[in-house]
């Protein structure tokens, strides 16, 4: 379970936090909460807007609550003030003392006076929260997914009004929980549907809800069954290796991807005839993945794409010109990959994709500390896919010392090891970072700093020279041995 946040609150604030949060119900009030759920395949994007009102002067730390199940499925959490680009610092408080919810504290940029208001926008991305229903579908059938969530947004503060909007990508919504006997908090109809949007609410005067009692009594479960006409993709495992070479001034990045179509499993046999005819008539199966388009970094060359069988020639790379280090650019090389077979529901495909890129676009040299700084991209985004398990290994040049690394967000665990490859004597230091449940928001850069003086560069030629010298010694000895028969 991975979260992303800027952990900049100091221990001092943590000390202030303790008593503040337990009595959190007193310093804020939610005047309105609007939660918008954008349904998708593997990923669901939830945006919750809190209109908060401070009840006392100097209120700055607002507490967010996430229910148990929601917390488990949330893979990205970011809070901002509406209309501003700056990300607010989030601190994980932990499980609520009253039970039932995980709490996070958000630091507002300006302390609010009594009755001061602010609009907080919290964006989350949920993974593994939808499932195909029915879970089997024939080649030409469509695909439908079910999404489950809780009805009410939890909060440790009193809420004046809240509503939840669930937006489906297509207008075909097969069914949704209608809450026939639910009349708490509302006098009108508890749920309305308009086109592809289902609105649960508005619900009025909800007391502080992030506690076990409220959840047991009042919380309701909502299930939406909707049509989805794109393949549901999951990368079961991603192993990225980034190898830095100083002799060749090159950064090689290699991804070993195990891709799965986790949508409705294929019912019956795969009919190549049906597949070809559906492609010909322009009605391809919606849950099938025929090809992938990936956006790779600019300035790459010598890309390779192979799987267990061998090289896969059905790929096309269009390279974008090289972009200098550190420059934010929208230029991407486009790689169209066509696996050996179309990925039907429940099918897997493992492949290796790698490329070389000039090291000057990724590494810099800091004269003051005498260290090299390299920025390694964490992952390549596969549209709509969640990466269940990721392992990123950064291999530094032989003899590198004083190694330090800064990932964009903390890893589950990391370790330093030795990687031995061509022309190595002592082996190369390698940093391995492990992550879980990565989404498109997690594609950042890992910065690694290390020292690699000139003497480390000489290690390889000297190793090869030693091998040559041994050959010359053999020749030297052979000249002095007389094997003639006397």
């Amino acid at each position: 379970m991975l979260k992303s946040w800027r952990c900049c609150l100091s221990l001092f604030l943590l000390g202030v936090l303790g008593p503040g949060v337990v009595s959190a119900g007193h310093s804020f009030e939610n005047t309105a909460i609007v939660r918008t759920v954008e349904l998708g395949g593997s990923l669901v994007h939830v945006t919750t807007t809190y209109a908060v009102k401070a009840l006392e002067d100097g209120s700055r730390l607002y507490t967010l609550a996430l229910a148990d199940s929601e917390h488990e499925k949330t893979s990205w959490l970011e809070a901002k003030i509406k209309g501003e680009a700056a990300v607010l610092s989030l601190e994980e408080f932990g499980y609520s003392p009253d039970g039932g919810a995980y709490l996070y504290t958000v630091e507002l940029p300006n302390a609010l006076k009594a009755n001061g208001t602010a609009n907080l926008v919290v964006e989350t991305v949920q993974t593994h929260v939808t499932y195909p229903w029915p879970d089997q579908a024939a080649q030409s059938d469509g695909q439908s997914l079910k999404y489950e969530t809780d009805l009410l947004v939890l909060s440790p503060y009193h809420t004046a009004v809240q509503r939840t909007k669930i937006r489906s990508p297509l207008p075909q919504i097969h069914s949704y929980t209608t809450l026939d006997d639910f009349d708490d908090f509302t006098t009108e109809s508890p749920v309305t549907k308009s086109g592809a949007t289902i609105t649960y609410g508005p619900y009025y005067n909800i007391p502080p809800s992030s506690n076990k009692d409220f959840i047991a009594e009042k919380q309701k479960h909502v299930i939406v069954h909707y049509a989805y006409d794109n393949p549901m993709l999951e990368v079961l495992s991603l192993k990225r290796t980034a190898e830095i070479s100083h002799w060749g001034a090159n950064l090689n990045i290699e991804d070993k991807v195990h891709l799965q179509n986790s949508g409705a499993k294929l019912k019956g046999h795969f009919s190549r005839l049906e597949h070809q005819s559906s492609q010909y008539y322009g009605r391809p199966s919606p849950q099938m993945l025929p090809a992938l388009t990936l956006h790779l970094p600019a300035g790459i060359h010598s890309a390779y794409f192979y799987d267990l069988v061998g090289n896969v020639s059905t790929s096309h790379l269009r390279v974008a010109p090289s972009v200098p280090k550190g420059v934010q650019s929208n230029l991407n090389s486009v790689m169209e990959l066509r696996p050996r077979y179309p990925l039907m529901g429940g099918w897997n495909y493992s492949f290796t994709l790698g490329w070389d890129s000039p090291l000057r676009d990724y590494a810099g040299w800091d004269k003051q500390t005498g260290k090299y700084i390299v920025g390694v991209p964490l992952m390549t985004i596969i549209n709509g896919a969640v990466v269940n398990d990721a392992e990123i290994k950064i291999i530094l040049p032989e003899g590198a010392t004083d190694i330090d690394y800064s990932p964009p967000f903390p890893s589950l665990h990391s370790n330093l090891s030795t990687h031995v490859t061509y022309l190595d004597t002592i082996g190369r230091p390698a940093i391995t970072l492990h992550y879980k449940d990565l989404t498109y928001n997690h594609a950042g850069t890992i910065y690694v700093t290390y020292k690699a003086p000139f003497s480390t560069l000489l290690r390889k030629p000297m190793a090869v020279a030693a091998a040559f010298i041994s050959l010359f010694l053999v020749g030297f000895a052979a000249k002095r041995v007389d094997i003639r028969i006397k």
């Binding site: 090159n250 550190g326 010359f472």
Partner: protein, 82 residues
């Protein structure tokens, strides 16, 4: 451990990595060095035996060092960036 934003700024501001030997020269360097190694090895094989093998040692050492750099340059030229 400095924080992420400062490392990001340092990464952007620092001068880009540049190798001691330009990468474009490596194939030519590989050819030169390896052909010198070959020539010196051939010369080594023609040297007469001496009690104190000074000449043989010198030629062998020079050939080995040139060969060492030549092989590294060769690896980089063919795409195995060591």
């Amino acid at each position: 451990m400095a924080d992420y934003a400062s490392i990001q700024a340092l990464h952007k501001a620092s001068p880009a990595f540049s190798p001691y030997i330009p990468v474009g020269l490596l194939p030519y360097l590989a050819f030169l060095l390896l052909s010198s190694t070959f020539a010196l090895a051939f010369y080594f094989s023609t040297l007469p035996k001496q009690t104190l093998p000074v000449r043989e040692a010198a030629v062998a050492s020079l050939a080995s060092v040139l060969g060492g750099f030549g092989v590294v340059a060769l690896f980089c030229s063919v795409g195995v960036y060591v």
